[in-house]
Amino acid sequence: MEHITLLIGIVIVTALVFDFTNGFHDTANAMATTISTGALKPKTAVAMSAGLNLVGAFISVEVALTISKGIIDESAGVQPEVIFAGLVGAILWNLVTWYLGLPSSSSHALMGGLIGATVASVGLSGVNGDAVAEKVLIPAIAAPVVAGIAALLATRLTYRIGRDADPKATAKGYRAGQIASAGLVSLAHGTNDAQKTMGVITLALVTGKVIAPDADPPLWVIVSAGLAIALGTFIGGWRIIRTMGKGITDIQPPQGFAAQTGAATVILASSHLGFSLSTTHVVSGSVMGAGLGRKGGVIRWSTAGRMLVAWALTLPAAGLVAAGAALLADQGDWGVGVVAALAAAACATIWVAARRKPVDHTNVNEVEAEAEAEAPGVVTTAIAAVTPPPAGPLTATIPAPAAAPAPAPVAPAAPAAQPTTL
């Protein structure tokens, strides 16, 4: 009994850490354009988004207990080890993409992690391949297209309507509209994404027989999940905000308004018409659409391209890390401990690396010179840094599970030895 409680405890802490990285990663979705157009000061923007995320976590009481939406076979009961390993994969991928300043979907990372962990511990039969295509791949392609076209047409229209008006007189109005749309995105995010963590924690509690299978999540679960996502949002993934708000294209107030309104609409429409789309993909698409909609607007395709590569890698990368973690965690208590220690070490490494070139609320809107000059180098670093984390736990696992070498996750600093197939 004792070790089950410990394992459940670790799963809960890991789920909250994931929730934190989720908020941290997705601040950009609601607030990047608001910050880059100057509609809100950076600190004000993240504070508002954090508050609305917290409110969002409380206003909906329906917690989905099928965390994977039918992608993995949950009928036999999901082992806490699998959930734990899946979360570790998702957290690490979220941190790597944050370090590189790339917006990528936190839900895809979580699904990828769960798929990888399931394959490693149960085998391929535990994963529903059709559901993967249906719930992950198609929406990932559809989201930016839908949001992009909507934002593009809306941007054209608003510039046409306002072509004779004085930009100074209209800027204030655009800012107000943009703040309202960004608020809606934040609220929707809190409702959807905090629920995911509540679902994971509740599931872990059910598995550990702490609460009855049909019980509502305890209040402390709702409070802690809401607080974790709000705290993550408030700390702010400034690197991603910079890419989203400045890196893809230069956004002016009318574009920011059109992009954010398009994003809010698509997110709400998709979650209520039964074709769920990732917030990150929607916002990235609408920012690109708004960029194309303005005459003279330029999309930095190198940045957009890197972002697409990150999207394509999200599922397999999080899955590989999670698979390695699951193989280790299946060894027993010591395996779980080793995974936790390795994950903590990897997080610390990425954090320290990020401190060397900090991006925060003071320099979030300064990007151009640096990004342009470094374009080829950044791609190389992206590839180099993306490759090792999946390889780390795997190479650590396959040859000698008992040895459990600690230095594995420190590898991101070293360039990748093997050629990457991008």
């Binding site: 839908v146 008006a165 109005g173 309202a180 009318p254 398009g262 074709f275």
Partner: protein, 65 residues
């Protein structure tokens, strides 16, 4: 693999119509307010903003439910 084309299509259609409609409406309101002195334009602008506010309220309603 079954793609729910109907759902995807309706998401696309609704998103496009609502986004373009709202942005258009709000833009008209902004431009109306920017024109100085015209009472008709001003009244029209407030009507446009009221409709946008109603849309936001409906959005919040959708999130809460």
């Amino acid at each position: 693999m079954s793609i729910d084309w109907a759902a995807l299509g309706s998401v696309f259609g609704v998103s496009l119509a609502v986004t373009v409609g709202l942005v258009g409406l709000f833009s008209l309101g902004i431009v109306g307010l920017a024109k100085e002195g015209a009472t008709v334009a001003r009244t029209g602008a407030y009507a446009a903003f009221a409709l946008c506010a109603a849309a936001v309220a409906y959005g919040i309603f959708l999130i809460v439910n």
